[in-house]
C-alpha cells in the first residue's frame, strides 16, 4: 500500500529548476532511499514535504488524502516528521525539554508537568535504547548523541513517515548500528522512512527501494537489490568517474617535522611529513585529529616543542605565521569555519590575499589566477560574483580549496575535505590532492572515511586519545587494522 504519492512536482528558484516534474511513491513500512548529488533536488523535495516550501505545480497524496501544507506544524500534524541535517536542538535545555519542545505535557493548571515530561522521555529513550539521562543538558552531549536525540524528538510525534536527512554525518559506527536497528524496528511497526545519505554502503544496507534524482529530474525508482554501487553512482553522476591510479610521490626530504610539540590539548606530538607525501590521519570522532591540525596551524598555538619546516625551526603562534610559512588548513566544518556568508566567490578567494604571500602582487594577475582555479576545479558556476553560500556543498568546498591553493601551500592540512559533499566533487578533490602531492607538496589528510584514506595515502597515522597510536604504511593498512588501533582493543 502506498503511504505517500508525489505526482508531477515542480519547483524553481531564480536561475535553477530545482525540481522538474518529479513523481514517486513510498509504500508503508519501507525504507526508501533518496539519492543524488548535492543540488540534485533532494533537499528541495524534503523542504516541500516538511512544509517549508510550496511546490509550483503537482500534488502530494499522503495516507489517502491530498496534502496541502502551510508550514512545518501542518506536516507534523499530518504525520510527517523530518530530521534535518542541521540540528534543531537547544544546547542550554535538557534532553527531555528538547524532545518535547513546544509541546511539553502540562498539568491542569496549564504549567509544564516536568515529572511527566521526564517520565515520557525516559520511556521513549529506553524504547530507542539511547543511553542518555533525560535531565542531561543537550550541550554536554556528543555530536552523535545529539543526532540520536534529534531522531527521538522526531519520533516523539509518532509519525507515519520519518524523513532522515544525512543522519549519520556526525555519528560513530556504533551509533549507526543503533540507528539502523531503530529504523528496522519502526518499519515493522508500519512506519515509512525516507533516507537521504551520501554513504552508499549505508544505503545498500538499509534501503528497500532507491530513487535517484539528478539536476532536479527523476532518474527512476528501483528495488535496492536491482542496483549495484557502480550503477547507482552512474545514475547519480551521469558520467563515469575515473580516479587516477595510485602512484607514490613521496620524496626523501622531510618537509614538516614536529618534535615533542604540545599545547593544552595535545601532549608531545612527534611526526614527519615528507615532500610529496599524503599522510592520512584516522581515528574516532574526538580522538584529537582536529586538535593536532590546529596545533600545527597555530590556531591553538604550541606551548612546548619544536616545529621544523624544510629543516628550519618555525614559530607558529597564530594562523598568520602558519600561512606566511606556507602551512595551510582546510577546516572541518565548512559552514561555521570556512564560509563568509555575505561574500561572493571572488571576495572569498580574495581572503587568500589578506595575509601571506599572495598579499602583494597585481590584483589583475590574482583575479586571472582565481578565475583559472575556479575553472580548473570545475566549480559549477560561470559567475564569480555569486555568493558562495548559494553553491552546493561540493562546490563550496572547491572554492575554499582554491582559496588555499592561491596562497601556494607547501603543506596542506585538509580536515574531512569530502565531508557531506557529493561523489562527483569527491573525485575532483581526490584528483586534486594527488596532483598537489605530485607537485612535491605535503598533505595531511584527516578523514573518517577509511576507504578514502586507503586509496589516497602513502602512510596513515591512527590517532587515539590525543596520541599517535600507530603508523601504517600503505601496504600494511586495512580497515580492520586501522579500527583496531583506533579503538585500542587488542
Amino acid at each position: 500500500m502506498e503511504l505517500l504519492e508525489i505526482h508531477h512536482l515542480s519547483k524553481s528558484f531564480p536561475g535553477v529548476k530545482a525540481l522538474d516534474d518529479v513523481s514517486l511513491a513510498v509504500r508503508s513500512g519501507e525504507v526508501h532511499a533518496l539519492c543524488g548529488e548535492n543540488g540534485a533536488g533532494k533537499s528541495t523535495l524534503m523542504h516541500i514535504l516538511s512544509g517549508n516550501l510550496n511546490p509550483e505545480t503537482g500534488k502530494i497524496v499522503f495516507d489517502g488524502k491530498e496534502l496541502r501544507l502551510k508550514g512545518p506544524l501542518d506536516a507534523f500534524r499530518s504525520g510527517i516528521s523530518i530530521v534535518h541535517q542541521h540540528l534543531s536542538l537547544t544546547d542550554t535545555l535538557s534532553v527531555a525539554e528538547n524532545i518535547f519542545a513546544n509541546r511539553q505535557p502540562v498539568t491542569r493548571w496549564g504549567l509544564i508537568d516536568f515529572e511527566r515530561l521526564y517520565r515520557e522521555s525516559s520511556v521513549l529513550l529506553e524504547r530507542l535504547q539511547i543511553d542518555v539521562d533525560p535531565k542531561a543538558r543537550v550541550g554536554a552531549l556528543s555530536a552523535g548523541q545529539k543526532q540520536m536525540i534529534e531522531i527521538a524528538k522526531a519520533l516523539a510525534r509518532e509519525p507515519k513517515l520519518l524523513i532522515l536527512d544525512e543522519p549519520t554525518a556526525s555519528v560513530t559506527d556504533k551509533e549507526v548500528t543503533i540507528l539502523f536497528r531503530i529504523i528496522r524496528q519502526l518499519t515493522t511497526e508500519g512506519v515509512s522512512v525516507i533516507y537521504i545519505s551520501h554513504r552508499l554502503n549505508e544505503i545498500f544496507e538499509i534501503a528497500d527501494t532507491i530513487t535517484v534524482l539528478r539536476d532536479g529530474v527523476l532518474q527512476g525508482t528501483w528495488p535496492a537489490r536491482d542496483l549495484t554501487r557502480d550503477s547507482l553512482i552512474r545514475l547519480m553522476v551521469g558520467r563515469n568517474l575515473q580516479l587516477q591510479e595510485f602512484a607514490s610521490h613521496r620524496g626523501e626530504e622531510v618537509l614538516l617535522e614536529a618534535r615533542n610539540l604540545s599545547n593544552g590539548y595535545i601532549p608531545a606530538l612527534n611526526l614527519k611529513l615528507h615532500k610529496g607525501e599524503i599522510l592520512g590521519m584516522a581515528g574516532l570522532v574526538g580522538a584529537g585529529r582536529t586538535e593536532i591540525a590546529r596545533l600545527l596551524f597555530g590556531a591553538d598555538p604550541p606551548q612546548q616543542g619544536e616545529l621544523l619546516l624544510d629543516q628550519q625551526p618555525v614559530e607558529v603562534t597564530h594562523p598568520e605565521n602558519a600561512i606566511l610559512n606556507g602551512i595551510f588548513y582546510l577546516p572541518e566544518d565548512r559552514k561555521t569555519q570556512s564560509l563568509f556568508p555575505h561574500l561572493s566567490i571572488e571576495e572569498t578567494l580574495f581572503s587568500a590575499r589578506l595575509t601571506g604571500k599572495a598579499m602583494t602582487g597585481k590584483v589583475k594577475r590574482f583575479r586571472e589566477n582565481a578565475a583559472a582555479f575556479v575553472k580548473k576545479l570545475r566549480v559549477a558556476t560561470p559567475d564569480t560574483a555569486k555568493k558562495v553560500a548559494q553553491l552546493s556543498g561540493g562546490n563550496q568546498q572547491k572554492v575554499f580549496l582554491a582559496k588555499l591553493l592561491l596562497g601556494e601551500p607547501k603543506v596542506l592540512i585538509a580536515d574531512e575535505p569530502t565531508h557531506g559533499i557529493d561523489i562527483g566533487a569527491k573525485h575532483d578533490v581526490y584528483n586534486l590532492l594527488r596532483q598537489l602531492a605530485a607537485e612535491g607538496r605535503g598533505i595531511i589528510l584527516i578523514s573518517s572515511e577509511l576507504p578514502e584514506l586507503l586509496i589516497l595515502c602513502d602512510r596513515i597515522l591512527v590517532i587515539r586519545d590525543k596520541k599517535i597510536a600507530g603508523s601504517l604504511l600503505r601496504n600494511e593498512a586495512s580497515e580492520a587494522r586501522i579500527l583496531e588501533l583506533a579503538m585500542g582493543s587488542n
Binding site: 531564480p14 596551524f297 590556531a299 597564530h318 594562523p319 598568520e320 602558519a322 600561512i323 606566511l324 588548513y329 577546516p331 561555521t336 569555519q337 570556512s338 564560509l339 563568509f340 556568508p341 555575505h342 561574500l343 571576495e347 580574495f350 581572503s351 587568500a352 590575499r353 589578506l354 595575509t355 601571506g356 598579499m359 582559496k403
Partner: protein
C-alpha cells in the same frame, strides 16, 4: 529595480534626491537656499564623522555605545588643559585625541581580548567617559583661546571647516575600506570571525584597532564641536550613539556584521540631517521628529527583510 533596492547607496541617494526635490518645491524660500544647506551640512558634520567609525565597527560585527560620551570627554579634556593649564592649542588637541583613543583602546582590549560583550562594555564606558567629562569641565568651560575657535569656526570657500573635515574623513575611509587589504579584513571578520581567524587574520587585534579608530573619530568630533560652540559642555553628544547607529543602519550596515560601505554612513547622516531640517522648517513638533525617525528606521529594516525573504 531589484538591484537598486538592494544597493543601499543607490536607493538612499535616489530617496534623498526625491526628498530634496519635493521639499524644494514645497518650501522654495526656506529649504532650497544656500544658507540653509550650509547650516544643514554643518549640523550633520559631527554625526557623520562619528558615523564613519561606527560603520567600520558594524562591518566588523560590533558596535560602540560610548561614542557620545567619548566625544564629550575629548572636548572637555582639551578645554580643561587649555583653560586651567594654558597648554598650547596644538598639544591640548593632541592630548584630547590621545585620551579618546586610549578609552577606545580600553573598550577594544576588553571586548576583543577579554571577551566582554560589546554592548555591556561600551555601555559601561558610556557612563565612565561621561563622568570623566563632568569631572574635568564642571558645568562648562568657556573663554577658550582664539586659535582653538579657529579650528571649527573658520571657513574655506564659504563653507565652514567641520564640513571639509567631514568630507576629508569620509573620503579617506572610503578609500581605505575599499582599496586596502588591511581594512578589507573587517568585512571578513564581520562575515565570519572563525573563518577569518583561520584565514590568518589577527581578529582580536583588528577589532581593537576598530574601537580605537571609532573613539579617535569621536574625539575629533568632540574637539570640532567644542571649538564651534566656543565652550566645552559635559552634555555634548548626549543621544549621539543612537542617532549615529540609526544613520549607519539606514546607510546599509547590519547588526550582524559583514555588510556596509563608508559612503553609506555619510548618506545615512545626510538623510537624518535633511529629515530633521525639513521637519523644523515644516514646524513639526519635537516629539514627532523622534517618532518619525523611529518609523523611518523600522520601515527600512522591514523592506530589507522582505527583500531577503523574496530572495530565499
Amino acid at each position: 529595480m531589484r538591484k537598486i533596492l538592494e544597493d543601499r547607496i543607490y536607493s538612499l541617494s535616489v530617496l534623498l534626491i526625491v526628498i530634496v526635490v519635493v521639499a524644494g518645491l514645497v518650501y522654495p524660500d526656506t529649504f532650497l537656499t544656500a544658507d540653509n544647506f550650509r547650516q544643514l551640512l554643518l549640523n550633520l558634520s559631527i554625526d557623520a564623522i562619528v558615523a564613519v567609525g561606527m560603520m567600520i565597527l558594524l562591518i566588523a560585527g560590533v558596535f560602540d555605545l560610548s561614542v557620545g560620551s567619548i566625544l564629550a570627554f575629548a572636548g572637555c579634556f582639551t578645554a580643561h588643559l587649555m583653560f586651567f593649564y594654558e597648554v598650547p592649542v596644538f598639544w591640548a588637541v593632541g592630548a584630547g585625541l590621545a585620551a579618546s583613543g586610549l578609552l577606545g583602546c580600553l573598550n577594544g582590549y576588553l571586548i576583543a581580548y577579554k571577551g566582554i560583550n560589546a554592548m555591556i562594555q561600551t555601555l559601561a564606558m558610556m557612563g565612565i567617559a561621561r563622568g570623566l567629562a563632568l569631572m574635568v569641565s564642571g558645568a562648562a568651560i568657556q573663554n577658550l583661546p582664539y586659535w582653538f575657535g579657529a579650528i571649527g569656526q573658520s571657513k574655506l570657500l564659504g563653507v565652514q571647516m567641520p564640513v571639509w573635515y567631514m568630507l576629508l574623513i569620509v573620503g579617506v575611509f572610503t578609500f581605505l575600506m575599499s582599496k586596502t587589504v588591511f581594512f578589507r579584513r573587517y568585512y571578513y571578520i564581520g562575515s565570519n570571525e572563525v573563518a577569518a581567524a583561520l584565514s590568518g587574520i589577527r581578529v582580536k587585534r583588528m577589532k581593537m584597532i576598530a574601537f580605537i579608530i571609532s573613539a579617535l573619530l569621536a574625539g575629533i568630533a568632540g574637539v570640532l564641536l567644542t571649538s564651534r560652540l566656543g565652550a566645552a559642555l559635559p552634555t555634548m553628544g548626549r543621544g549621539l550613539e543612537l542617532r549615529v547607529i540609526t544613520a549607519v543602519i539606514l546607510g546599509g550596515a547590519s547588526l550582524s556584521g559583514g555588510v556596509g560601505r563608508i559612503p553609506g554612513a555619510l548618506l545615512g547622516a545626510l538623510f537624518m540631517g535633511i529629515a530633521a531640517n525639513i521637519m523644523v522648517i515644516a514646524r513639526v513638533s519635537g516629539y514627532w521628529q523622534d517618532i518619525i525617525v523611529g518609523i523611518i528606521l523600522i520601515l527600512t529594516l522591514w523592506t530589507d527583510q522582505s527583500l531577503k525573504k523574496n530572495y530565499e
